[in-house]
């Protein structure tokens, strides 16, 4: 219950930064639309269907990406500077709450509001450009799809928490963060739908946790996956959550012995 209160407090806090969120939203909006524009040209020269995907399918992919980019890409690693480099972590440690769940409650409002912005943009785009786009989701799939989205969020959150903890050893993780961003761009499906990658790279990508953050949830919505595949994805996501959570716990315990507040 107390975490719900913390969540609501952070929600109010985020609400103060509406114009900032709008700028973040523009960032999330820009690159999917540019990629889509690029593919429009590519489709122009190589026909209606490309590697088994029609253009309206690619459009739907990038339109959904606008929502997913805001909702599912967690940015807790940005707190490394304040929490660890400047020693704010100490103030969290003396509170009777778990650091993990405070971070969870402070991050979720940002993601929900940006997801909402994304959803609005998605609807506007579908109404203006996407009359030929069809989404069919049968009732029995709604629950698995919702679960895949929630689990995707958890994979994303745990992974970024691990990156955040790396600052306990290196203090400054700005270089690491940029590297992680690039890995996500490639393997979560930002640049191209993973389906368009060479098949060996595609198979390799599926061994990583990153496709399960964004690519798999979008695929689930587009309707490409059988019920069995949906269940399989859920299983893999849960496995990743388990692995990442153990890594996080391990780093937390080792890191706490090492942590010394700088200036705190």
């Amino acid at each position: 219950m107390r975490y719900v209160r913390i969540f609501l407090l952070y929600f109010e806090h985020v609400y103060q930064y509406r114009s900032r969120i709008f700028v973040w939203f523009l960032i999330a909006l820009l690159s999917p639309l540019l990629f889509l524009l690029y593919w429009k040209g590519a489709y122009g020269t190589s026909g209606e269907i490309f590697l088994g995907w029609t253009f309206s399918r690619v459009s739907l992919y990038y339109f959904l990406f606008i929502i997913a980019g805001g909702l599912l890409v967690v940015h807790v690693d940005e707190d490394a500077q304040g929490d660890i480099q400047e020693g704010n972590l100490s103030t969290y440690l003396v509170k009777p709450f778990s650091y993990f769940w405070i971070k969870f409650c402070s991050e979720l409002p940002w993601r929900l509001i940006q997801g909402l912005f994304g959803l609005i943009a998605f609807l506007v785009l579908i109404v203006t450009y996407g009359r030929h786009i069809q989404i069919q989701i049968s009732i029995d799939r709604i629950l698995p799809i919702l679960l895949i989205i929630i689990l995707g969020y958890m994979v994303s959150f745990l992974f970024k928490m691990i990156i955040l903890l790396c600052a306990l050893w290196t203090t400054d993780i700005s270089g690491l963060r940029q590297l992680v961003d690039i890995i996500l761009f490639i393997f979560a499906g930002f640049v191209v739908p993973l389906h368009f990658l060479p098949s060996w790279l595609y198979r390799f990508a599926l061994f990583l946790p990153f496709p399960y953050i964004i690519y798999v949830p979008i695929q689930a919505i587009i309707g490409d996956m059988s019920l069995f595949e949906l269940m399989k994805s859920i299983g893999i996501q849960i496995a990743w959550i388990g692995i990442l959570f153990m890594v996080y716990r391990y780093l937390w315990f080792v890191g706490m012995k090492k942590y010394s507040a700088v200036g705190g």
């Binding site: 930064y17 900032r20 700028v23 973040w24 540019l34 690029y38 191209v192 368009f196």
Partner: protein, 262 residues
């Protein structure tokens, strides 16, 4: 003019001393900037993997475009982008007072204070990349091409700088909009696609993108021997217009500056 040159030389020295002091930070900055250079190459590679031509640009030509993007953005990051990161902080924390009091142009000091040496490897990498792909296409360059390329790269960077300055000036009114620089980084990356791509948008949004795409497309076309006079004229006119606008807008905005600290 002489005074400004002297100040800038001093800044170059001071920035170099800072770099020598924070060596670890410098190394991680170099890696980060190289990562982004490599990323723009990889993403173009992925995008062209299964296609031959996009908007009349062949695969190799798109690669040259990516290389020129690294050169132009490399120079821009070396000279300017660190200053834009500082800009919103300066305004937000009320440090602008100190800058306005100095007997030197405030726009100059805000634009040239930080020099980011860490982006030099990316710039050099871009040059090698362009040379390699021009050879693969079979284009040989003469001195005139290189001279024209250098001139239009400078004009392009002036245009890019003016667009950035115009937009960050908004933080004088909305000082918590410091993430506008993050937006500008992303917005600028729209310049790594060919101009023709944007001409395909037949809505008003097109005017948002066209100035930026000229920044990289025009110098690239000079190397590919495909440049038209109108491209060159438009790039120059837009650079001049945006530069004057950024200057006027800055002077106007300063009237509304209310300090935060003093």
């Amino acid at each position: 003019m002489k005074k400004y040159l002297r100040v800038y030389l001093r800044l170059i020295q001071l920035n170099f001393s800072a770099l020598v002091v924070y060596r670890g930070n410098f190394a991680s900055d170099i890696f980060a900037s190289l990562f982004w250079g490599i990323f723009s190459v990889i993403s173009m590679f992925l995008l062209t993997l299964r296609v031959t031509t996009v908007y009349t640009w062949s695969k190799e030509e798109l690669m040259v475009l990516t290389g020129v993007y690294s050169i132009v953005i490399g120079i821009f990051h070396i000279i300017f982008s660190g200053n834009f990161r500082r800009f919103s902080r300066v305004v937000h924390l009320g440090q602008l007072d100190g800058i306005l009091l100095k007997p030197i142009d405030s726009q100059f000091l805000l634009s040239f204070h930080i020099i980011n040496y860490a982006t030099i490897p990316r710039f050099l990498g871009g040059i090698l990349f362009v040379i390699y792909f021009l050879r693969r296409i079979g284009i040989s360059l003469n001195l005139f091409d290189v001279a024209m390329f250098s001139i239009f790269t400078c004009i392009g960077i002036l245009l890019l700088y003016s667009v950035w300055y115009l937009l960050v000036t908004i933080t004088i009114w909305q000082s918590h909009l410091s993430n506008i620089t993050d937006f500008l980084f992303d917005f600028t990356s729209s310049a790594k696609y060919p101009k023709e791509m944007y001409l395909d948008i037949k809505q008003i949004v097109i005017f948002v993108f066209v100035p930026l795409t000229l920044v990289v497309t025009t110098p690239t076309k000079i190397f590919l021997h495909k440049v038209s006079i109108s491209d060159m004229i438009w790039t120059s006119i837009l650079a001049a217009v945006f530069f004057i606008a950024s200057r006027k807008f800055w002077k106007f905005a300063l009237k509304f500056y209310t300090s935060a600290s003093s």
